[in-house]
């Protein structure tokens, strides 16, 4: 079996985290989450089941909304979107996300684009997956400089959604909203607990010897490298091309 690329591990992990969703929304600049959703759809369809509906935001071709850019949020408010992805310039140990900037607001020393829909979607989408490939202490901080969207809300505040997991280039964490905090669930191949501790600015729960993130089986990998990368190329041609070039190197 050909070597599994790190990004293939991420894509397959996302497909697992999404299992059971009916409708997932992904950003137009998020090829890895989109690939995970497309892989889950392909796996379901291969079993003769119905795969999830995938909304790619900002895409003209894969946009089935007819009520402008407000419709996604209305759709989420109605409970029709089960899963969504959030990144963030900073994410802290309480699941707070900062998409606005580092330093003192409003004159941020580094300004990021802004909160987009996070301050709403984090509250109303049941399965939000925090996804950030870069796993460094500047991203995973003890406390964010600005809360675009809070990880948890006090009792009495309407909250039907929130984070369930944090996936990075080094590992997968589960979010426990009762503590609140993250627990390391698994470590990706090629990384270890000491390295993850070093790269994480917040404290997290973990086993003494955390297990390795599950690798895809041959069938899943074939589906990913075939049909899914074909589907992906329609919306994310550069990413699909790059993955195929890397696979060419692996196979050779």
């Amino acid at each position: 079996m050909a070597e599994v690329l790190p990004r293939e591990v991420l894509i397959c992990t996302i497909a697992r985290l999404l299992d059971g969703v009916r409708h997932v929304a992904v950003g137009a600049s998020s090829p890895i989450p989109a690939a995970g959703a497309m892989l889950l759809r392909a796996m379901k369809e291969a079993e003769g089941a119905v795969g999830p509906r995938i909304s790619i935001l900002g895409s003209v071709e894969h946009n089935f909304f007819t009520n402008g850019s407000a419709e996604l949020f209305d759709c989420a408010g109605q409970g029709r979107i089960d899963a969504f992805f959030l990144g963030g310039g900073q994410i802290d140990g309480f699941g707070n996300v900062n998409l606005v900037g580092a330093g003192d607001y409003p004159r941020s020393s580094v300004r990021w684009p802004g909160s987009f829909g996070s301050a709403y979607l984090y509250f109303v989408v049941p399965r939000v997956i925090l996804f950030r490939e870069e796993h460094t202490p500047r991203v995973f901080v003890e406390k964010v400089d600005f809360i675009s969207a809070p990880g948890v809300s006090p009792d009495g505040v309407f909250r039907s959604g929130g984070p369930i997991a944090l996936l990075t280039g080094k590992g997968l964490f589960r979010f426990d909203k009762t503590r609140p905090g993250f627990e390391l669930e698994s470590v990706h191949p090629g990384h270890d607990l000491a390295e993850i501790k070093e790269a994480t600015g917040f404290r997290f729960a973990h086993d003494a010897e955390p297990r390795q993130t599950a690798l895809p089986d041959r069938t899943t990998l074939d589906l990913l490298r075939g049909r899914v990368f074909d589907d992906l190329a329609e919306t994310y041609p550069e990413f699909a091309g790059q993955m195929r070039r890397e696979l060419g190197t692996v196979d050779a």
């Binding site: 900002g58 402008g68 607001y105 987009f116 829909g117 709403y120 009495g156």
Partner: protein, 269 residues
Amino acid sequence: MVLSEPRAMAKHIEPGMRVALPVDYAGVSMAMTRPIIEHGAGNLDLVCVPTGGLQVDQLVGAGLVRTVETSAVSLGEAGGAPRFNAAVKEGAVRLKDATCPAIHAGLMAAQKGSPFMPLRGLIGTDLLRHRDDWRVVDNPLADGGDPIVLIPAIKPDVTIFHVPMADRFGNVWIGRRRELAAMAYASRTVLVTVERIVDENLLADEMSAAGVLPALYVTAVARAPKGAWPYGLWGEYPADSGEIARYAKAARTADGFSAYMGQAQMESA
């Protein structure tokens, strides 16, 4: 409705006005950017519906902007918005950071003539903490508790966007970009640039009528072929990512921005 041209339309903008502009992919009237800058009315309060990009960055870079109300400003794949980010760092623009559905909610309130619209989410965010115009009340229909945020109506003085076509009666084809209608309903003045002006009445056919913003809401229309460039226009042409990247690079410095904006070629070749 008045059939106009971009330079004449820019004269509707007066200093201190609140100006609503659409998201990158909905139909940005880049053809109006240069005329607005030449016209020079400053102290503008921009409302990005719900996010901003190139046009916002250029108006900020030209020094015409007092406030930016937005859910985000970026150049997409070309990275951060350089003049906006510099202005934020210098404290040269006042920020009203929002979240996408809050902008839509504010426009929806204005559309209905209501003072506000309630919106879930937001509680516990620093967005809410920094917005003294947003209010939290307990849901009056619940048995107690259940705090919810009220977003005041957003009533822009001017809305500006670009779409494929208008008819000679001033009806404007917005297709399924319904946020353009929401902006128009909420605004006193609506300035529209179009790829082409057609002879037949767009309201005469039910198929096209469903995607029409009626002339009732439209102040002036001007023909501006490739008027969204270097952004793309739905159903017409894709974005020119090379040009957007060229701008992103040039505008890293104030001098580079001035040089870019000073170039004669500001339209698609």
